[in-house]
């Protein structure tokens, strides 16, 4: 074992459950002396739980917490040689700055002189000399933060735990405190274990970052490792900004994505293994059209202060636009006594005409019958139609048990399919009929529009692979009136985010280039 790198804490297979929910799924982690370790992850990933187990505020259900060679998992907090800086500082509001910092020392029954000396030293370290008699509740967030740190450090713990201590501060103070914390850690030379969900904070301060997700550790490494060599899409997305593209490993040092092969430096994958490829925005350069490894159109340029954030579309999306006919509310409702029946006109694709049955028609027309009073549904008993396997206009009549019926129209059309060879995809959708209320009351309009228009997208080379669609429309669903509206369904193409200091014009055709070492290949995440 290295003299400098002595293990101070070892988590061994820590499991923690709250009400049957597993928060930590067997954590194994070593922490060394004098390290600044950050536990990074979104809220609910278990990072705070792990810290609280270390602090002694929670007991793990399983596993050991080895501290200096001893298992401390069952030791109460006040017997542990660690101290914590709490999320909202937890300063004692009934004590002034001095008494807060001196608390731990007084508990240890140190002499007055020693206490005074140590507290003063701490105040100097945190830069709050002369504040010892201040009321902690009247101090600013940053000052409270410092007092909390001093209160913990004055006990000379071998490890300091910090639970999202900068969360409550504003941006500027936060940056300041990041440096301050790092400085203090280097000055006192002990291990800091820092919990945060802010990746930038983690990258700035840490010697070692532990990325967590849903109770599991994803990656442990230096900030550089984590940033440059994320092990998977999750880590890559969580740490820094990135372009993540699904790809396929052709062979060692050769990866294929977006219908091109690229050289890279990654080895050790199986041939044809599906992988995720990550290219950081700052690793891509914009070059004149035709000169890069990829080419595309500049979609947007945002000035970000130091650099521009440029979005370049290398593969365009696919669009299809259909008409939405909006009818009066009761146009497609009939009622007789207590019974109501409703149905919509609709379009059918000539290709779907080969084998239809009544239930298809009921579904497409959204035909329903119900009791006005009890809201009970009645079955549609009979469907009459003159529908034929030809393009044209037909009539369909739905009957209820009670003899009430409603007639609607069916248009059989040759449906529009928009193919996009460059993007290797196709999109299709139908015109459709709806009432004002159906649109107003729709809980998730985007999804329902897709259903109503029967909108679909797929890969040209493999029709079973679907492509996600987005919806665009220019009406206000809350205040929609009768009429015909255009609805567009579209796929996103491939966009790259690029950070550059050079300005480019929007709409310009450009080339993109990057070096083989800027391509990072990661294993596909299993779900």
């Amino acid at each position: 074992m290295d003299q400098e790198k002595k293990k101070i804490i070892q988590f061994k297979n820590i499991v923690k459950k709250f009400d049957d929910q597993i928060i930590l799924k067997g954590i194994n982690l070593d922490i060394y002396e004098n390290e600044f370790v950050t536990l990074l992850g979104p809220s609910g990933c278990g990072k705070t739980t792990l810290l609280r187990i270390l602090g002694g505020f929670l007991e793990p259900d399983k596993g050991e917490v080895i501290f200096d060679g001893k298992d401390i998992a069952k030791l109460p907090p006040y017997k542990r040689e660690l101290n914590t800086v709490f999320q909202k500082y937890a300063l004692f509001p009934n004590m002034n700055v001095f008494d807060n910092i001196a608390f731990g020392l007084k508990i240890k029954k140190m002499s007055k002189d020693v206490i005074e000396q140590k507290v003063m030293k701490m105040l100097k370290l945190i830069g709050l000399e002369g504040y010892e008699n201040k009321d902690v509740t009247l101090m600013s967030g940053g000052q409270q933060q410092r007092v909390a740190i001093a209160r913990a450090l004055v006990n000379e713990p071998s490890v300091l735990l910090l639970d999202e201590p900068l969360g409550a501060l504003d941006l500027k103070l936060r940056k300041e405190m990041q440096y301050e914390l790092k400085r203090i850690q280097q000055e006192v030379g002990i291990t800091f274990i820092f919990v945060t969900h802010d990746q930038e904070e983690a990258l700035t301060m840490s010697d070692k970052i532990v990325v967590m997700k849903e109770g599991e550790i994803q990656q442990v490494g230096s900030p550089q490792d984590i940033y440059n060599e994320p092990v998977n899409k999750y880590v890559a997305e969580f740490v820094g900004e990135s372009n993540i593209i699904p790809g396929r490993m052709i062979q060692d040092k050769l990866v294929r994505f977006d219908d091109h092969n690229f050289e890279c430096v990654d080895v050790g994958y199986k041939e044809n293994e599906l992988v995720d490829v990550i290219i950081r925005p700052e690793d891509i350069d914009i070059v004149p059209e035709g000169q890069g490894k990829l080419s595309g159109t500049v979609e947007s340029v945002l000035f970000k202060g130091v650099h521009y954030e440029v979005m370049v579309e290398t593969v365009p999306g696919t669009h299809v636009t259909v008409n939405m006919h909006v009818n009066r509310d009761n146009a497609n409702v009939k009622e007789e006594g207590d019974v109501r029946i409703s149905a919509n006109d609709f379009y059918l694709d000539i290709e779907d005409m080969k084998n239809w049955d009544e239930s298809d028609l009921i579904a497409r027309a959204d035909a329903q019958a119900w009791s006005k009073e009890t809201d009970e549904y009645f079955p549609i008993q009979r469907v009459d139609t003159d529908l034929k396997d030809e393009i044209g206009e037909y009539e369909v009549t739905f009957h209820t048990v009670n003899g009430l019926s409603i007639s609607r129209r069916i248009w059989v059309v040759d449906q529009k399919v928009v193919e996009n060879k460059k993007a290797n995809e196709a999109v299709s959708a139908f015109n459709f009929f709806k009432t004002v209320d159906e649109i107003k009351e729709s809980p998730a309009l985007d999804t329902e529009l897709k259903t109503w228009a029967n909108a679909q997208g797929w890969k040209l080379d493999d029709e079973s692979e679907t492509v996600d669609l987005s919806v665009d429309y220019n009406f206000d669903p809350e205040h929609i009136k009768e009429g015909i509206y255009k609805v567009t369904f579209w796929t996103t193409g491939r966009e790259f985010k690029i950070h550059t200091t050079d300005y480019v014009e929007e709409g310009k055709e450009v080339g993109l280039t990057f070096f083989p070492e800027d391509i990072h290949v990661m294993e596909k995440m299993g779900f």
Partner: protein, 277 residues
Amino acid sequence: MRKFRQLTIPYLIWALVMLLIPMALILMYSFLEPGNSIVHFRISLDNYFRFFTDKDFLVILWRSLLIALKTTIICLLLGYPIAYFISRCNEKLQGILIMAITVPMWINMLVRTYAWIGILSKGGLASWVLSLFGIKDAELLYTETAVLIGMVYNFLPFMILQINTVLSKMDKSLLEASADLGADKFQTFWRVVFPLSLPGVVSGITLVFLPAVSAFFIPKLLGGGQYFLIGNVIENQFITVGEWNFGSSISMIMAIVMMLLMMLVRKLDKKSGREDM
């Protein structure tokens, strides 16, 4: 919102008539000549003079303060652990326990006090319990002990509720911080929990001490006719003797003594614990 300001006008008038003028009247009556008519207006200090020169009245005032103090201390000693226990229960149980303590307060105070007469009288439940411990023929009813029991019984819930409110609202991370800094349960309690609960303790003390000093039906029901507290003296002056001026001056004296005591208590609170509303 200037317009909303006008909303206070009705109450300003109301408060003037129903809260301020009555106080002014007590003050006025207390300075008038003894006698129960306001025909002859002669301002004098006779009533106050009479109170302060009569040793017996001073003794009663002292006794009232003393028994109120005893009540308050007992309520604090019993109420704090109960409030603390409740605050450490889970939320559901807390709700039930708080309810259990509140419900008796909805049943009339006099009625509940009346029930104690039966329990405390000779041959009643209390003397039976005492006889189990070898104390035979204990006289409980019409003693100071009975008055004390009655007062604690009536006012303890106030103490518990006040302290519990503060304790259950207390930031749990303060306790963790204290443990983290090496304090065990006991030290955490005395250095953090207790000082922080002082505002609750103070309002609990106020809510117990105040009615205990001026109580007059509890001593009358449980203490017997010869057990006089300052409240009984005032009642007696107004209801039986009819010397309103003297009664007013005693009320005034009591109000002032209480005000001074409450200021003192609040000051103590400001010194040790803080946490304004």
